[in-house]
Symmetry: C2
Subunit: 153 residues, 2 copies
DNA sequence: CTCATATTGACAACATGCTGTCAGTCTGTA
DNA sequence: TACAGACTGACAGCATGTTGTCAATATGAG
């Protein structure tokens, strides 16, 4: 019947399930890494974007692959907690630039240090070469999934 | 400084970011595959669990790596839409068994057929061998992340 | 300069999944 | 049998991120 999968299809389906499971664990690990700084994965991502360069909420959304509305909600919470502030943007009256406060920078430093310890340990366990090769396939899959549209409804 | 990452740590961090991005795309693809059947990825997962064997909401939660509360919400929606029904469980008065209705089975078949076409195409593009090797590393990472606890707060 | 168009922040509604809590329902042990 | 502890469904509340919509602000073509 038409719903049978080829061996290659089976392999990709198993790969996809594994990737989704790993992503769940990585998400949890990210939350755990950010927790001692009073943050979460989502807040950490926005802090990191603002640290990379002062940028508007919409900019950060594009950089993070999220909608600007989603970033906006997190950024408003970060501002309320005093981790970022909205600086005037000389080039745009409405689109303020998110910048880290001292507290925000300190929180980000804490998380980065913890993340380094964690990533170094896992890198050692798995092996640099194996990780690099798997990353290539993951990136290839990313591009293929983006390009390959889902079969028409 | 203590937050410097080793080459292996850099490799793992890049790998993690790629995996998280791919997971997002796979999630979107899953929603797109399920959409013509009027379903979503979450509903599809619960339907598939109930199709594999009649099971309680808590059983499905364990099988899917989710909390029973999360499954419960989706399952209640599926029941309301007539895709599953809660059958009496001779072994437990409260824990009813989710079973597919005809409509539910039909929806699942539609999704499975579409998923096969999609997975076969992506498997062809990426290559069975490369996918299998990457899957091994992803699984190894899964086990390592589970085992490796995050550095103490 | 003017005006159609795109961009941006703000707000509401929704989907998904989590933790916490409670009261029923088993289950194993004394 | 009796009862402590585990399991289960139900419900509330929260975090995350999405789509849709609106008004204010830039931007570019004429």
């Amino acid at each position: 019947m038409s719903s049978d999968r080829t061996p290659a299809g089976d392999a990709f389906a198993a790969f996809a399930i594994s990737v989704l499971r790993l992503a769940g664990h990585l998400q949890n690990a990210g939350d755990a890494l950010a927790k001692p700084a009073g943050q979460t994965s989502a807040r950490w991502q926005v802090l990191a974007a603002a640290d990379h360069a002062p940028m508007s909420v919409a900019d950060a959304g594009r950089a993070l692959g999220m909608t600007r509305q989603g970033v906006q909600r997190v950024a408003d919470l970060l501002e309320k907690d005093g981790l970022i502030l909205y600086a005037d943007n000389p080039a745009h009256q409405r689109a303020k630039l998110m910048t880290l406060t001292e507290r925000g920078a300190a929180a980000l430093d804490t998380i980065k240090a913890r993340q380094a310890v964690w990533a170094n340990a896992l890198g050692d366990v798995l092996g640099t070469k194996e990780i690099a090769e798997a990353t290539q396939t993951v990136i290839a899959a990313l591009q293929a999934v983006e390009k390959q549209s889902v079969p028409e409804g």
